[in-house]
């Protein structure tokens, strides 16, 4: 670094370094230089020095976009913001070739085991960042109490599938290092030892993210892409603003999420999965003005009430319990189902307190808690209920089929979350025609208000108890709500994916679904 600062690097001296590298490395770099030159409609042939001279003309004009592309193509990795700025400043002080040193070194230093991976530049296409391979059922198989994650996995998979079904899209997935994109390999990712598909760098493309951005390494590279490259950018956003204590302890943590938001602040368009989330992100956008950042255009492309899994992936659609679930849930008592979504904001404590009021008033029912914490205050409250011989069951999770069966079997469900960008359990309950007691604000209200739901203040145990008692004892009221739920229009993933695509790619204001 010192030497470079004082002795300007020339095309000739840099060519010497490249030509001295092992033949595979030298060929790779020359190949990449030629790819880069072709995008700028310059000849890619000639000696290494001649190639470099032409690259120097492209990046020597103080054009940060050109520098971004040159670094991405030569190193075979999407650069970060500091990397782009450092290279631009070096070019400015000591000429274009001193800017390329780190990128060249990153290739030559891996000489011993370098995969000869060509870099392909994709231009003028819609690029879909397939963060999770669309064939993966990992989220649903992994199960666990994080119900939102499982449901979100379906939404991401459906979005990805719909978008990739279009003619104008290219699927890219991240390399193992999270530093570059490859062409998506289709079913079954590259096995260990296999040569990976070419690295792809988008240029003058529209890059869209169907999955939540929750990774700092990818985030810092997408930030630089959004800020410097000549690509347009769009993302579907599933997460709430990170000002929630539950998020601070969650994984990814609030800080990680804030980092992801930093990348999104340079995006062109962001589609929120609910109106409430769009309002929340609007507040975040307002906050950006202190950093002199305008922020993305934000629109709600609300996820409708959906039946999952999506059409076309129906192998797990049967609503049946497995044996363990049947013994845990089945029985004759009226069942009240509470499916946790993401953690403490699910407010299980309030549900247990409300249930206790109802039991005390002499109403019998079975309370089934799915995904309630195993320790801490909620677990203690659960223990107290058990010690009072209340009919209460706790399950870690349910299979996808068991979840549907549980909603079908339940008299009603309760989802009184304090903070939810999209209330999956409300949607699931309504799809099953089961009345749901839910919070009277934000996405819970959006999903519940059109019918089949009782809206309550989730911070008022008494209101929850009153709604629960009446749903258990007032058959006419219950049946009316069940009918409302049953009559609700069910949206389609296809319409949702099209609306999101139209907004993110074409800027069309989304219709309300």
């Amino acid at each position: 670094m010192m030497a470079r600062a004082h002795r300007p690097v020339t095309a000739r001296s840099m060519a010497k370094r490249i030509d001295a590298a092992p033949v595979a490395v030298r060929a790779l770099i020359r190949w990449r230089l030629s790819t880069l030159l072709e995008v700028f409609e310059k000849p890619g042939d000639g000696t290494t020095a001649e190639q470099l001279e032409r690259v120097g003309d492209i990046i020597g004009q103080g054009d940060r976009a050109a520098m971004w592309l040159a670094l991405a193509v030569i190193a075979g990795a999407l650069p970060t913001e500091p990397e782009v700025l450092r290279a631009c400043r070096r070019a400015d002080l000591d000429g274009p070739f001193s800017a390329l040193g780190d990128a060249i070194d990153s290739v030559t230093s891996t000489a011993d085991n370098v995969d000869v991976i060509q870099v392909e530049i994709v231009t003028d296409r819609v690029v879909v960042d397939v963060a999770q391979p669309p064939t993966s059922e990992a989220a649903s198989l992994g199960g666990g109490p994080i119900e939102a994650e499982r449901a979100e996995g379906h939404a991401v998979a459906a979005l990805t599938e719909q978008w990739l079904g279009r003619d104008d899209t290219v699927a890219l997935h991240w390399s193992r290092s999270d530093r570059a994109w490859h062409r998506a390999p289709g079913a079954g990712a590259a096995a260990e030892g296999e040569v990976e598909a070419p690295i792809v760098v988008p240029w003058r493309c529209t890059v869209i993210l169907p999955a939540p951005l929750r990774d700092a390494t990818k985030g810092e590279r997408l930030l630089a892409l959004a800020r410097f490259s000549q690509n347009r950018t769009g993302a579907v956003v599933y997460d709430a603003f990170p000002a929630d204590p539950f998020m601070a302890k969650a994984d990814p943590s609030a800080a990680t999420f804030a980092n992801a938001l930093a990348a999104l602040s340079h995006f062109d368009r962001v589609a929120a999965i609910s109106h409430a989330l769009a309002v929340e992100l609007g507040g975040w956008r307002r906050m950006l003005s202190g950093a002199g950042i305008e922020g993305p255009d934000i629109a709600a492309v609300p996820l409708p009430i959906l039946r999952r899994p999506p059409a076309g992936r129906a192998s797990i659609a049967h609503h049946t319990f497995d044996d363990a679930e049947r013994s845990g849930i089945g029985g004759d008592a009226a069942m009240v189902l509470v499916v946790g979504s993401t953690g403490s904001q699910d407010n299980f404590g309030a549900v247990l307190a409300a249930a206790e009021h109802v039991w005390r008033s002499g109403v019998a029912f079975r309370l089934v808690l799915v995904g309630a914490p195993e320790s801490g205050p909620v677990a203690q409250a659960l223990e107290r209920a058990v010690s009072l011989q209340r009919d209460v069951r706790r399950l870690d999770t349910l299979s996808e089929g068991g979840l549907g069966a549980a909603y079908d079997a339940a008299r009603c469900s309760v989802f009184v979350s304090l903070h939810e960008p999209y209330a999956w359990p409300v949607a699931d309950s309504i799809v099953s025609g089961t009345p749901v007691i839910t919070s009277h604000f934000a996405s819970m209200r959006e999903l519940g208000e059109p019918g089949g739901a009782v809206l309550v203040d989730p911070r008022d145990d008494g209101q929850i108890a009153d709604a629960l008692r009446r749903l258990l004892t007032d058959d006419a009221w219950h049946d009316d709500l069940a009918r409302q739920a049953h009559d609700r229009a069910i949206g389609s993933f296809e319409d949702y994916a099209n609306a999101a695509f139209s907004y993110l790619v074409e800027g069309a204001q989304p219709p309300s679904l």
Binding site: A243, A254, A255, N259, A262, R285, A291, E356, A442
Partner: protein
Amino acid sequence: MSATTPSPANDALVQRLRVAADVLVHDDHSLDQAHPSDLLSRLVATVADDVASERVWLLMVALAARFPTPGEVEEATRTFIGGDTTDAAIFLLDFALAGAARGSAPEATMDLVTNRVLVDVDHSAKNDVHTGIQQVVRHLVPRWSAEHDIVPVAWTDRSGAYRHLGVAEERRVLRHFGGEAEAVPDVVESAPALVVPWHCVIVAAEVVVGDAANRLSGLAQYSGSALVAIGYDAIPVVSADLVPNGDTFVQYLDTLKYARTVAGISTTAVVEFAGFVDTLAAQGLVGPTVSEVALGTSPVSAPHTERGHRGVAMVVMVGSMEPRKNHLAVLHAAERLWRRGVKFELTFICGSEWGTEIPERIDDLTRAGRPITVHHKADDALVEESYRRARFSIFVSKHEGYGLPIVESLAAGTPVITSDFGCMLELSKAGGTLVVDPHDDAAIEDAMFTLLSDDQRLEELRAQIALRPWRSWDDYAEDLWATLVVPHRSADPTKVS
């Protein structure tokens, strides 16, 4: 809870329960000599008769010698409502026993403070650091202390509860500017009395972090006291790519959800906190009212005496070495100017460092013979002197809540190059500055060249500085009191102590 064995913890417990009983059980002198377990039973019964979260909160504090978290108050309240008094008593005893590991101060007595104003100055009291927030605190609190009835407080050792300040701490907060050069050693009392607010206004004058933030949230939601705060900025969540410790800050923001008023230190800070309040609809919350109370400044009395140590013009940049402050862009612009043959020296004054790229770049340039000076630990005098000697200062930050170095520079009569947005632009409007896009290295270079080469332009800016209106710290203190404290003081005159 053995009441028969006298011990400091037992005596303290009895004292705390009696203090709580004075408030919760009206006019019952039979409790004066009551056995502690009877006292507790009576307190539990009286709270059960009239379950209000503030009564539950106070009883919990008295019993456990720490402020409960919001979740603990909610649980306790549920036990009172849903169970009988035995359930409640058992719950409270469990809570108190668990407290030993959670910041409890069992040997501390408590000082119940009713209807007064507490000012949380924990960090400024315990640390000698004197950057942005501590400067505000050390200007503000002495003025409030002289004009109003306030109780400055810090947190106990493990952030369990409030306590009074020690002698050295008082000096740090109240007499920093008083010329008391002699430091007083920090004497740690073993169990200083807790300060427990009852229907008070709590002013969070700093960014509250860690367990303290969670307990303060419990206090704000359930104790009956009103939390208000000075809003500095939301940089850790807005520019998370530029600063560390986002999680800590999120905890603080979570507490502010339950504040009544936040006084932003600039229009930009107000917009940031108002944006934050906008996000709270998604949690079914209203959030605090956000108002602007612009900070004061202290003009330097000594005249501007431009003179560099090396016989050339000196340019000063004050700010911690982190990406947000944009040192790399300034260094780049400076190197370009040096290569053009422009003569000047560059002085950096910084408290802390984050990352290695900036110091490495400074080392490179220094070794190449560039006249760069870095002061890592500069006292007020050195900072002031540097501003006075500088031809101009540069502060092209990517994100600020206020931009204190701009004001400090102007106060010393020294023009500033700063960023063309947010609070930095706000401060520029009254003159004395050149604004540039901090993301545009060439613009920074041009502005530096102008002020290094164009004496007339520099004189114009100095003339503008002389005409700037100055807002005093007295005005700040008075306006802040009117905005934060007055609206939340109880209207009931009988409660005024």
